[in-house]
Symmetry: C2
Subunit: 250 residues, 2 copies
């Protein structure tokens, strides 16, 4: 018996995560991005399709470009897959592109870097069009101090104290290649590019930068965050709605 030929497809997916329990499929619920896409692909192919995302995103987190792949025994036209998915997906999930991938390509295992963007509305007035994608923070933040703190976060550190991960033997060391902070008309965007992020890490780093920006934490305290023996604690976990996965690099 010859092994069934498998075709591997890469999906580029956007979503407004407001209504969802996050990326990852859960047993009891249909309200996940992965679950929605798998259900439609399973109907399209007649197979039980499983997709691999580049990583989980939390409940309420958005994606400009999440990457996933799936394998099937059927040779499908990538454009046909895209149009089929977009026809049946709800309006807040969209597939921007489908491509044929190398047989060994795996969206999670092959990911080299990811970029997340966190948006803070510090203008004093909510934006009725973008409030789903922004964290409205009324007290004035000092962006230049936040930039100093962000510079100290950049690099290879033990981010154990900047994550809600359970005590684990797995490494909590990650490398942040770059953090850039832009500000325009009171809209602050913090972009994080790194080799990987722990559970809630971007939201906790953002909460920490906010504490620095409002003057409740000192810039110098950042270095102590990465010393597991030191008692300095990270800031609060910024709300999910302000966070967007921007892209994944391979």
């Amino acid at each position: 018996m010859t092994k069934k030929q498998e075709y591997n497809y890469l999906l580029r997916i956007s979503y407004d995560g407001t209504r969802y329990l996050g990326w990852q499929r859960q047993k009891s619920s249909e309200k996940t991005i992965q679950g929605k896409i798998e259900a439609i692909l399973s109907i399209m192919t007649g197979e039980s399709v499983e997709i691999n995302g580049s990583g989980r995103t939390d409940a309420g987190v958005h994606a400009v470009e999440q990457i996933a792949n799936f394998k099937t025994g059927i040779d499908l036209d990538p454009l046909e897959i895209r149009d089929y998915l977009n026809r049946y997906l709800p309006e807040d999930i969209g597939v921007n592109r489908v491509e044929r991938a190398e047989p060994r390509f795996h969206a999670r295992l092959n990911a080299k870097a990811k970029t997340y963007c966190y948006t803070i509305n510090n203008s004093g007035v909510t934006d009725v069009f973008c409030h789903r994608f922004q964290y409205f923070y009324p007290a004035k933040l000092d962006v230049s101090r936040m930039r100093e703190a962000a510079a100290l976060m950049t690099g290879r550190h033990d981010f154990r104290k900047c994550s809600f991960a359970k005590r684990t033997r797995k490494s909590t060391v990650r490398t942040i290649y770059e953090i850039t902070i832009s500000e325009e008309n009171g809209i602050i965007q913090i972009s994080y590019r790194g080799d990987g992020f722990l559970y809630n890490m971007v939201r906790i780093l953002t909460g920490t930068l906010i504490e620095v920006g409002r003057g409740a934490m000192k810039v110098e305290e950042i270095n102590r965050l990465f010393d597991p023996e030191d008692e300095t604690r990270a800031g609060f976990t910024a709300p999910a709605g302000g966070l967007t996965l921007m892209n994944v690099e391979y």
Copy 2:
């Protein structure tokens, strides 16, 4: 008895109209922008406040900047009015600014020009972040033909056939100062600046431009639209969600 002194305030208001029955207060429903704002101002002032909008917007239509004014016997700080409103308004209505206005200022009667923008997503892929503010139109549109048709719509014309207004003795003559059409990555934005617009007029002009863009109407037919004796009919009424009131000039 001296006449009670009246203070006149101008409001600059944004809204995502998706959930509302439109700007104008209705007897049976709270689901209007005007109704929401009046209810809060009445509590704030202890008076029965009525606000004058620059004009109605239909159910589902949005505003980047709608203008309204209201009078009260109480001398209030404009910033205080803004913050009070924003504290109690839902997330999809926002007051960007409140200013003191001349006693005779009236948002509707003094309006000199308005600009509306209609957004068509012609990229073939829905935008999960902006779908509330775009009309997704899958068939390819010829933007250069739409621009030719828009040039013929510009100027002073009888727009009776481009409106759902009931037969009325009121004039249906309006002047469109300018229509500009931009296109970027399949997102077509049509901006209309005019001295006033009849009921549904912008949505019908947009539906007409779409008919031209897809080749179902000829550019030359536009001129005949403005001749009440001619049988040429306007295009369909484009959906409300794509339409946004951008600003009002005084």
